[in-house]
Subunit: 357 residues, 2 copies
DNA sequence: CCTGGCACTCGGTAGACTTGAGTGCCAGGA
DNA sequence: TCCTGGCACTCAAGTCTACCGAGTGCCAGG
């Protein structure tokens, strides 16, 4: 029906989708901005009244037809306004919205938080997830640094009962891990201590991921303890990652989505911490700071957008922070908040285990 | 209008509210049972068709009027059926429903769980909260044993950096707690070790709540470390309670309540672990196993019912399990599930830190 | 190539009507 | 005395209609 020229953007830079001419971009921006604010389909006359759009509503309409044909907008039904598609949000995030700034009161809130917060790293991360959630009113996720590179600082076997011992490992990053060991035969405190010392001499200074040979002692009793401890150390390695995930303000999901079923399924996802971590890592690894709708390839979250920011300092990976909200989220604010909190958290973590007290 | 005899229950045992005559009880039971199943107001003809009710719907109607006057039922509006009030549920729970039994598949699920689960206490409690939630499809809370009576088994100071040390305490119940200590002056590993040994000799065998005097050493450097550690130990005491709360299946709240706002506020409560613990404790202390609506005096949860069961063995308090659902929850099943899981958990906890592996 | 105008679509709202579940009350009967 | 069937009444919810208005697509004129 329509001749080919219609489908060619005016300032097509490379490929077919990369750029939109300025007018269409302005219209898209208006639609996204308005829809984020009102959650209602945006009509051409609303758009035409935007300061950045200096054409009549009729022109806006014809441009919107083009934007819809190219996949940036959709109409829920005829005779309704348009709402952005994931692709529309993507263009908005990539080209139309600045890095975003926090309001003064929010900046103050962040500063106060980092001045006042104290205590163990876990506490700080946990409370930071709450902060991020409060700043944005979305659900927040904070992932702490992995223990992969931390070396073992202390290694101890503590007897709990005649047939139970506790392996306690302190890492150089301040993490403490433990594992109960069942002893098939009773062990004396003395044997435990000797096995502990033997193992400590072999293990202190290594990381948990480095393989190690089981040292031999002269005594069968102690060898028995040592092999049991060896198994326990191996099992430590796998289970440590999950400890460092903190979810803040999951209750806010109920504000973000009106469909109860969506709330339920997203909450169910957040319960699976491993999934959340890998989602954030995946998005970060792809060099993105925002994943919209199906971009993260994770079906149950297709109605969500994920904003992530690394927690790092000098390129060193110390974790990540993330925000989970509806695709019609306020990307600028969310990105700004995630960025700021991620950055301050990185400074805090690297700057000492407990700056003040 | 109506003469006094109308308002006098037929078999009034003591006080004015204690008992209902058998017919009214049967009618109340029918209403509650039906409403729990359907979530819709129950009419007199439905009730009349219940096997336990051998009277006509007209008679049921007049009895329902009486039950409404006495506060056991309410009508959402004229010409609708009745729904139970909190008082109605209370009577149902106290007098009309048996202890409840789990279905065979659920019993099997519980058995399998306790056969297969292994690992640290925290892991077991966490997963038990998931089990309880799956069994009932309500949100579950598991509170682990308090560390109040546990004695200190090991006490260690580990240097992390020249100006940071980590205090690591192992308790007799297998719990490990840590606290970072800022050192205002640098301390040698040797000084740390000596301070640690000194403190260990004073503290091992005590509980965390017992007050203790700061031991004096000859050296000012060590005294300095010792007082810093003293402060850290004191701060440990207060923060340990919160660690032992596990919430399972919060996403199921979205299934239990249809109002999004209710979901949001209940989720927000569950985020505050201290509140949840004290709620459960409070209900248990009052000797109840169920708190319905406003009975727990906690306004934001007035549309919820809380089912609790102690985790104990031989009268020794090892914690509590709880379920949070709508007031129209299936009390019999919930109580049965909480009871069983609480009991098995008690056996597990007291029976060893890790029965199998 | 933009714009105002125009006919058209269609979701949402409001009112009238119907339906049906449920009630309260009452008179007759065991 | 108490239960029951009958009856008139109430009211939420569903259906149908009409209508409004926001919004669109298209077109002719500037």
């Amino acid at each position: 029906m329509t001749p080919p020229p219609d489908s060619v953007p005016l300032t097509d830079v490379d490929g077919d989708e990369r750029a939109l001419n300025a007018r269409r971009a302005a219209i898209l921006e208006a639609v996204v901005t308005e829809y984020i604010g009102t959650a209602e389909p945006v009509g051409s006359s609303h758009v035409a009244s935007f300061p950045g759009v200096q054409v009549s509503s009729a022109t806006v309409r014809s441009e919107m037809v083009a934007l819809e044909r190219e996949g940036y907008l959709v109409q829920p039904h005829t005779s309704a306004g348009r709402i952005p598609t994931d692709k529309g949000y993507r263009f908005f995030v990539d080209h139309l919205t600045g890095p975003g700034v926090l309001g003064p009161s929010q900046r103050k809130q962040v500063s106060q938080f980092f001045e006042q917060v104290h205590g163990e790293m876990e506490t700080v991360l946990e409370r930071a997830s709450g902060l991020l959630s409060e700043l944005t009113s979305y659900a927040a996720v904070v992932v702490g640094p992995s223990h992969e590179t931390a070396s073992i600082r202390s290694f101890q076997l503590v007897g709990l009962s005649p047939v139970h011992a506790l392996l306690v490992v302190v890492l150089s990053d301040g993490a403490v891990e433990k594992r109960t060991i069942d002893l098939t035969t009773e062990a004396s405190d003395d044997a435990l201590a000797r096995a502990g010392t033997l193992l400590a001499s072999h293990l202190v200074g290594r990381t948990l991921t480095q393989p190690w040979a089981v040292p031999k002692s002269g005594s069968a009793e102690i060898d028995h303890l040592v092999t049991a401890a060896h198994r326990a150390v191996d099992s430590l390695e796998g289970s440590m990652e999950a400890d460092q995930v903190f979810v803040g303000g999951p209750a806010r999901l109920a504000e973000s989505f009106d469909a109860v079923e969506t709330v339920r399924s997203v909450l169910a996802i957040l319960e699976q911490q491993l999934v959340v971590v890998s989602l954030l890592r995946d998005v970060l690894d792809r060099g993105l700071s925002v994943a919209i709708g199906t971009e993260h390839g994770f079906e149950p979250l297709s109605s969500c957008a994920v904003v992530v920011a690394p927690v790092s300092i000098d390129g060193q990976d110390l974790g990540a922070v993330g925000l989970l909200g509806p695709t019609r989220m306020d990307y600028a604010r969310a990105m700004a908040a995630a960025h700021v909190v991620g950055e301050r958290l990185g400074q805090r973590i690297s700057g000492g285990h407990d700056g003040r007290h």
